[in-house]
């Protein structure tokens, strides 16, 4: 009878203090790929080896627009193996409010033999952030904070995932990440929920169920798309059995890239959605 108590006391507190402290990830972890845009000479090998089409380019006569889409990336690191200008970092806090801000694009002068050089448009490689949208986002954030700031109830919906994301979402309930210390709980019914945490790709069979779950969630409600498949359809894309990312079915408030995103990344995304990221 005293054994549970003895073991709990012996174990002590194992909960991490994220987000006050940085994420505890190994320096070997593969997170956001970083492209040295100025030194990038050829997008073709990386594009050919990327299994999900996260690296793409479009040529127009003498220019090339090359894109790295973190919403499609599964962080396998194969591109970094073949291209010296690409390096895998261990950054996992990649969640974004807009799908477009996960896409990093650079324009280059195209050479005759298919390589590229000379970054055009200065050195800014990310998509221009729309100022008015940013301001709107801030307004939204303060509103969300006033509504959900102290407590949030989440309904998790697997709309077609491979269950990798579920393995990590389970981790949020572990004593190590302990989501409940933020006043955030997973609940059993969408009727009790403020947020749908949706993993994808949304299969055709799950599309009606996902819509019904959304309709059953009282307003105001948030939708967070989880993982490469939730953000974009991932390696499955769109086919006879899948519709693609969650935003092909529902309006999405926050996208959390990763394959799967680790619990830090999930926490980051959830806190971003409710405007409670103290470090930023």
């Amino acid at each position: 009878m005293f054994e549970p108590l003895r073991q709990s006391l012996q174990t002590g507190v194992v909960t991490i203090s994220y987000p006050k402290t940085p994420p505890e990830v190994s320096n070997r972890a593969r997170g956001r790929p970083e492209i040295d845009w100025a030194k990038w000479k050829d997008a073709r090998p990386a594009m050919a080896i990327c299994p999900t089409g996260a690296i793409e380019f479009h040529d127009e006569q003498t220019t090339r627009a090359a894109t790295l889409d973190l919403g499609k990336c599964i962080f396998c690191g194969l591109c970094a193996d073949v291209d010296p200008a690409i390096r895998m970092t261990n950054q996992c806090e990649l969640a974004a409010r807009q799908r477009a801000s996960l896409k990093l694009t650079a324009k280059y002068q195209l050479n005759a033999h298919g390589t590229h050089e000379r970054l055009l448009d200065g050195s800014v490689a990310t998509v221009d952030r729309d100022e008015s949208v940013e301001a709107l986002g801030q307004q939204l954030e303060s509103r969300i904070r006033s509504v959900f700031g102290r407590s949030l109830h989440i309904r998790e919906v697997d709309a077609g995932s491979c269950n990798g994301c579920e393995v990590e979402i389970h981790g949020l309930n572990s004593p190590v990440y302990d989501l409940e210390r933020f006043g955030i709980h997973f609940v059993a019914s969408p009727r009790h929920a403020d947020m749908l945490l949706v993993t994808g790709p949304v299969t055709r069979n799950m599309e009606p169920a996902l819509r019904k779950t959304y309709d059953a969630t009282p307003e105001p409600r948030l939708v967070v798309a989880v993982g490469a498949c939730g953000c974009s359809g991932g390696i499955f894309g769109v086919n006879y059995a899948t519709c693609g990312g969650v935003d092909s079915v529902l309006p999405v408030d926050v996208y959390i890239p990763g394959c799967p995103p680790n619990p830090h990344a999930l926490l980051h995304g959830i806190l971003l959605a409710i405007g409670r990221l103290s470090r930023t």
């Binding site: 054994e3 549970p4 073991q7 709990s8 174990t11 194992v14 505890e24 990830v25 190994s26 070997r28 972890a29 593969r30 080896i49 299994p51 999900t52 599964i74 962080f75 396998c76 690191g77 194969l78 895998m88 998790e156 919906v157 697997d158 709309a159 077609g160 995932s161 491979c162 269950n163 990798g164 994301c165 579920e166 393995v167 990590e168 389970h170 981790g171 572990s174 004593p175 190590v176 997973f186 059993a188 019914s189 969408p190 299969t203 055709r204 069979n205 799950m206 169920a209 779950t213 498949c229 390696i235 499955f236 769109v238 086919n239 006879y240 059995a241 899948t242 394959c259 799967p260 680790n262």
Partner: protein, 531 residues
Amino acid sequence: MNLLPGLRTVLDELTQRFGTQIGHAHAPQPDELYLHTKLELVGALCSVFYRKYNGRLAGVFAEDARAEHNVFFVYYLYALDSAHGFVLVRVPIPQDKPEVTSLTNAIHAVNWQEREVQDMFGIKLVGHPNPRRCVLHDDWPEVYPLRKDFDLRTKLPPFTGVRHKFREVEGEGVFQVPVGPVHAGIIEPGHFLFSVAGEPVLYLQLRMFYVHKGIEKLFETLPIRHCVRLAESISGDSSFAHATAFCHAIERAAGVEAPPRARALRTLCLELERLYNHIADIGAICTDVAFVTAHMHAMRLKERALRVNEQLTGNRLLRGMACLGGVRFDFDSAQLRTLTELVDSLENAFNQLVELIRSHSGTRDRLETTGVLTPEVARDLGIVGIAGRASGFDHDLRRDFPHDFYDQVRFAVPVFTEGDVQRRMVVRREELFQSFGIIRQVLEKLPAGPIQTKVDEVPPDRVALGYVEGWRGEIFHWIHTAPGNRLARCKVKDPSLQNWPALSEAILGNIIPDFPVVNKSFNLTYSGTDR
């Protein structure tokens, strides 16, 4: 033909018995025998394999070969555990009369797989006791997605009509309780329809395939080098096992072998995958009977294992580690030390967890005699993996068909006959202790040398069977290669596809509140089943 002695005997005896009717026989690998025969012989061969060689029908699948041979092929995959080999019986099905005689009446184990062939290829089952749709829901249009003339990106019309036609269960005081596809917990989607009288369950109907993603069709459209990553996404918690099974198949087709160090590292990763899943399952079983303290300790240990996975391979679920011809990353001495420390500390902590659960009589009360799957039923349904071993099926590919480094290590296969939730948990517990031993032995014997054999070209028109004993049970990937480093067909079989029907049997007579723990004790993957 280079054949294992056991399979050679089988082939000789079959030739003696059936003469030229057997048709063409070939063996691309010593443990993989193909018999190209005709439909009329399927029943007789099945009977011989079961009665004489103690074999089992581990898979039924089809292939659209109309372009090359004007026929469909149906394959029957027999595992002959005692001969340590596989026999694949291939029969042609004429395209103008796509019909096949069902074996389900005799071999219940192939019920879902035969219906999958019917749904995906439009090959009609003759004599199947329940030929309703299985993979495609009832509201899908008449399409056969795995036929070659069906395009992957076909835009299907909106589904119409009734989604599922369930069997009606009637009687005084009988109620229906529909559950899913969106469940109360953080689990995958599927629909369960319970028919209950009071609390006990009279009948359970499963409706799966909600997360069907067209994976097998997708394999046919991707270049092989991308397929490894797709294999990792068949079932997230078995990423490495599925990817390795796929790599085995490709390596066999290409005639290459992973170097010894790569085979050892693969074995380590397979055991690491087993570790974190078994620990999580034991914790989850405890939480389903309200012993949350044990669950929290298990979650803590699982997190420790996942972080070591990340230090070793760069990903917590071991993704990105598998590659054709070996593994992508070597472990340096510091990493190997981390792994040794993990095994030591985890074994210690796990012992304490076991003691905690053992000392809690309430947990035992809830788990013993709950969700019993008798050995007879398990055998009829061909139940494999953890659930099979808890119900008397003494079988493990790691021992019976050793792959990777498993022939170099010693371990025991825990088998029980009671078949209840408690035994399915105990199988996991015992396997965990065996895993610690396997990891230690591999680390002791870790060969030096390269970790990859280059696989540049995969020759066309080769067939190969890749297999791995994942933590859930046996995983098969059967491939047929096409020109240009592509696949004409990739059949994926997760043990869950085999084991789901066991749930309907194990729950009978139990009360609905025990369903979560019974379901968790099997912990089958929906995504791996639905593909």
